[in-house]
Symmetry: C2
Subunit: 197 residues, 2 copies
DNA sequence: TAGCCTAGAGAACGATCGTTCTCCGCGCCA
DNA sequence: TGGCGCGGAGAACGATCGTTCTCTAGGCTA
């Protein structure tokens, strides 16, 4: 097993275990068992648990935003801001959905680990940047405020869906986003039609 | 020290420590030290950490909703749904603000503790009930959907404010709520004026 | 004043944590 | 083929966890 594969296995195991059970509830030995990588190699590649947690968050950030962007890119430009919420609804329906990995990690470790806190802030900032681009491309003249509102709606939908265990919050957030986009933009984004349902 | 005072001191210590550092990062002995209540009495009143955590969440739920309702009740009926976000903004500015205690606890313990998960769900359900009453009293003919949207906005604002460390998300959420209320209601709730600023 | 119940202080217990160390077996180079 | 070094398995270490137990001091009743 080369280094790249070991890293991949470790981060795969870390992601599924940390996301499902929380960071503190998962010991390093459990990650060794799930990954099949020895403890020695684990500590060679990630010299402490905090480093592994940060690496887990940063890789998840890239993958999560990549999956979102790939879905959204299949929609016409004017429909893309609302398509974000369609993608969220699909995500909420997945059996292992457990809320926002970043908010969960921040709540658990934010005060104790500056590295984790920064990774979480970076993720949220990137998402806001991405949403701002979508809103601007959809024709809203001043995209900043609306993108911020959409980001708040998305975060709220994620946490609500996690706690209730149902994906309904995505629909409510989508409808709210449609109203906000129509109120703020010169384009009738809300009328561009639901991508799903 | 009688039982009531011991309970109060234990829950005070549990709340400040669990909320600031997370549940798993705080040991029972630290709660003993912060409360001044002996370990023996602690376990007499709360026979396990999970019981203490659930009691902490349920007391915080009552206090949190009580403080919100007390603030909102000082505003005219039509302005109350938006006053919720003014109260959030004040809360976000407090130095010990650390996000939503319930979402944090759920992210940390939700999959491992059904009692905690239920306490979190109960809290969110009570908040939604409260918001629905506010929206109905403000004259919106069908308050359910809008109240759900406001709940999503509030949760999103809380998590965004926690991660960014700034209270600006409350303003964005308030503006979004104003648009949604005006779009849905027969009353010009958005025009009832900001309570602050 | 003598005996008993309660409560507090803190040691003790077994488990588990993050991290390091030991030991052993297998593959590479002379 | 023989010595060497890297990697895996897992024991070991010190710390800390949730929980229980021991010991002692003090207030109440007879």
């Amino acid at each position: 097993m080369d280094i790249a594969e070991a890293d991949g296995r470790l981060l795969d195991a870390a992601e599924s275990l940390f996301y499902e059970h929380g960071v503190q509830a998962v010991g390093m030995d459990r990650i060794r068992a799930a990954s099949g990588v020895s403890l020695k190699r684990l500590y060679q590649r990630f010299p402490s648990k905090e480093v592994l947690v940060e690496a887990y968050l940063r890789r998840r950030d890239e993958r999560w935003r990549g999956a979102l962007a790939a879905y959204v890119a299949t929609c016409p430009v004017a429909a893309r801001p609302l398509a974000v919420f369609d993608w969220l609804e699909e995500w909420f329906g997945e059996p292992d959905f457990r809320g926002c990995a970043f908010i969960n990690a921040y709540g658990e470790l934010g005060t104790g680990s500056p590295a984790v806190a920064e990774a979480v802030r970076d993720h949220k900032a990137e998402v806001l940047r991405y949403l701002t681009g979508l809103v601007r491309a959809a024709g809203v003249p001043e995209p900043g405020p609306v993108a911020g509102q959409l980001a708040v709606l998305a975060d709220g939908a994620i946490t609500t869906a996690a706690v209730t265990g149902t994906p309904g919050a995505a629909r409510r957030a989508r409808e709210a986003a449609a109203v906000l986009l129509e109120a703020a933009g010169g384009v009738t984004a809300a009328e561009s039609g639901p991508v799903r349902g």
